[in-house]
Amino acid sequence: MSTEAPGPAAPSDALLSVRDLSVVYEPAGADPTFAVENVSFDLRRGEFVGLVGESGSGKSTLGFALTRLSKPPARISHGRILFDGRDIASIDSEALREQRQGGFAMVLQSGMNALNPVRSIRNHFFDVFKAHGHVPHDRREQRARDLIGKVELPAATLDRFPGELSGGMRQRVSIALALSLEPQLMVFDEPTTALDVLVQHAVMNTIRDLQKSEGFTAVLISHDLGIVLEATERVLVMHEGVIVEDGPSSQILSNPSADYTRMLLSHYADPRAEIVSLPGFEDRSIRRDQGVSRSALASPEHAPTVVTRSISTAQESIVVKGVSKTYPPPRRGEQPVRAVRDVSFTLEPGQSLALVGQSGSGKSTIAKMITGVEKPSEGSISFGGLDVAKLRRGQLRDLHSNVQMVFQDPYAALNPLHTIEYTLMRPVVNFTGLKGDDARHRVRELLDTVGLTPVEQFAAKLPHELSGGQRQRVVIARALASDPQVIIADEPVSMLDVSLRAGVLALLEDLREKWGVSLLYITHDLLSARLITDNIMVLHDGAVVERGETAEVLQRPTDAYTVALLDAVPNPARAHGAT
């Protein structure tokens, strides 16, 4: 381990000293998981520390242990947690409860659900005040208003119920609630993951400002190295339950010592840069001019072998003309939702088009209309000779044989009960008419195409035996099974860890090139759009606000909204003054 070995004695200004902490999950009827192993570190007062690592690396588990919130089946199996010199790993529950005021607080990963849906926000605050009695009765209202103000919410929010607030507002309320405890230590577990890009940016700014003004010690848990590096002074890097690197942010940015950290860093780039290159990708803006052959493209995981079958190239284009979609009002007395407003574009055969915009901007709705799942309220969509809006069920199948989807969440997109072979066999049988051994052969080809070799082994597997990246490859293979002309990928990598993302993106890019399919790539992640698309369209409130060549738009945005989007992309280099 390349970590600077923490000495047995904590530094004198340490607020929290963790020594040899191990946490194990012991679920009934399953094998135990050692989620955190022998972790030691110290936190000084007023420090802002980041904790990064991939999904499942044990970040949340550690966060819960630090704040003594671990619940069965989790168990602190070993180690000490000294908070202000007192070992909180073993104090009883009432003492612990009292410690929570003026001690340590936590803002949960799924902050959206952290509020009791049936209690008003005001009551949430009052509950905390009542539990600890640290705010006198007559000052409670004022205090609640102060707190809610601190997270930049209007006082009227106090009268609302959680269900009436947006995700970002709810996350702010949880932060305010945690603040109301006047804690010395605050642990933020992925406070912005579930939030929209722009909101994410705003909430992070609030957290940073609060940390500065209130002076508490903060731990920011995130899988996004960019966010952590931008916000914090010191970073702990976690990998498989172990802290592999612990150092100042600027040092990690410029000179990472652990291989794992280096790997994480290598997948990070600024989409606004002149030249964007990641392992496995070459910069797109220069590719066109130089016409470089991209056959050498390889994902870090599996290099697809050369595909032998003859490949059809897309011939039809998708033409979207003046399309609008209005959903009926979600509740009585509200306005109808205008999800898409007068959008027109053409997806030429073989083209790759990015559709970007914040959450709710109508990206998925457009995808649904193109695939016939939803009907446009106005305008027309055509694919070749088909008028997509007027298809009946049988014709919808024809459409699906040409227009396929790659789903966002590879964990949810595969039926856990079917083998990979079955999953891929279905579209093959349904669309190509192949049967028996021919179909099986085709499935093997598909697996080969997406680089899942040895194919025989993968064919027999069940989804839970695959990694996220492998699953996404299966999802892509399924989309290819009908030999489609168009692939619509709706945030195909947003659920994947950094280390897997690049591989999947590279695969998509490669397939498009090789198979000549058109790609509609939907994302809020500008970096990936920059990597694999030629053209881009920026959606805002259902309307297109900017369009053009991807590199051009991202480097020189003209619309204010696009500028805001780009600003929200974390920029650690800017924060730490390094390049």
């Binding site: 949960l108 659900n113 509020l115 049936v118 209690r119 509950d127 009542k130 539990a131 609630l177 009585r332």
Partner: protein, 326 residues
């Protein structure tokens, strides 16, 4: 607006269909009310042909064909005039029902509410103290007791507490010498008479509520807002009741609505065993005697009360769950 209209429309349609079903179901039963009356009489001795004729005239062959009868019935439903009972000729149905209803409503209704409240509280306790004896005892005891056949529990209680130890009266809703009304003697006697049936219903229904609440409560205990409340150092009581239990109770309300609606139907088996003059007993009599007017009135009442209870629970849901407001 369209949604609400649709909802109301569906409700009315359901009501109509249920009412119609209530009309046709009894008529599907073979034999006529006269047959039923004769069958009853013939248990006492030979029934002559003349008697049969007299009864036929008395109960009357229903006028007109089925359609006319149905229209007549719909009119009865709307005007709430159900005519005269066959079984209890010449008592008007309305009178019979209004005599029986208070007992059922008070006994079964009260016990249902008490069972729901107690069961829910025990379920909360069990989930909160999961893995301890406070969990094991109510959960296991509850599931065992709820597996008892109603009438069996009733019979055993009746035999031991009523006949062997003579602690409680063995039948009826109040002492034979009491006059129903708001007098202390009657009310006291009614309370004593209600004990055994009440205990029976309580024993056999408590378990379901305990288990239901325990399971939902365990689910909510794992919810993030509960963890967050703990992280904020709220008192365990507050977390258990205001956070976990308060949310866990919502899904159980639906069942409670159905159970409440079922109250009006009475508890046929229990009322039968204890000779309790409630709706359940009346219903059994009506059905076995093919007493169309009485059956129709009772079925209608039960159906409407189920619908009504569900409707009320919907409203309660809205009050308790701000997410459904607006």
């Amino acid at each position: 607006m369209k949604y609400a209209l649709r909802k109301v429309g569906l409700l009315i349609l359901t009501l109509w269909a249920a009412i119609t079903l209530n009309f046709f179901l009894p008529r599907l039963m073979p034999g006529s009310p006269t047959d039923a009356a004769i069958a009853k009489l013939s248990q006492n001795g030979p029934v002559t042909a003349a008697t049969r004729k007299a009864i036929e005239i008395q109960l009357g062959v229903p006028d007109g064909n089925v359609l006319e009868q149905y229209l007549q019935y719909l009119k009865q439903v709307v005007t709430l005039q159900f005519g005269i009972s066959y079984t209890f000729y010449p008592q008007p149905v309305a009178e019979l029902v209004s005599q029986a209803l208070p007992y059922t409503l008070i006994l079964v209704g009260l016990v249902t509410i008490v069972a729901f409240v107690c069961g829910t509280l025990l379920g909360v306790l069990a989930a909160w103290k999961r893995g301890t004896w406070l969990d094991a005892l109510p959960t296991l005891g509850g599931s065992f007791a709820s597996a008892f056949p109603y009438f069996w529990t009733a019979l055993l209680l009746l035999f031991f507490l009523g006949y062997v130890f003579k602690i409680f009266p063995t039948s009826g809703a109040y002492g034979v010498t009491n006059t129903p009304g708001l007098n202390a003697a009657f009310l006291g006697s009614a309370a004593v008479h209600a004990v055994l049936p009440a205990v029976t219903i309580l024993i056999t229904s408590l378990g379901g509520w305990i288990l239901g609440m325990r399971n939902t409560m365990i689910s909510t205990l794992g919810d993030d807002y509960v963890t967050f409340a703990e992280a904020n150092g709220l008192k365990p009581r507050t977390v258990a009741l205001r956070y976990a239990a308060r949310n866990a109770i919502l899904p159980n309300l639906t069942s409670f609505g159905l159970a409440l609606g079922g109250v009006v139907g009475g508890s046929v088996l229990v009322e039968t065993v204890f000779g309790y003059p409630g709706i359940g007993y009346l219903l059994l009599k009506a059905v076995t005697n093919q007493d169309y007017p009485l059956m129709q009135a009772l079925f209608l009442m039960i159906t409407v009360s189920v619908l009504l209870a569900n409707f009320l629970v919907d409203i309660l849901y809205g009050v308790l769950d701000p997410r459904t407001r607006k």
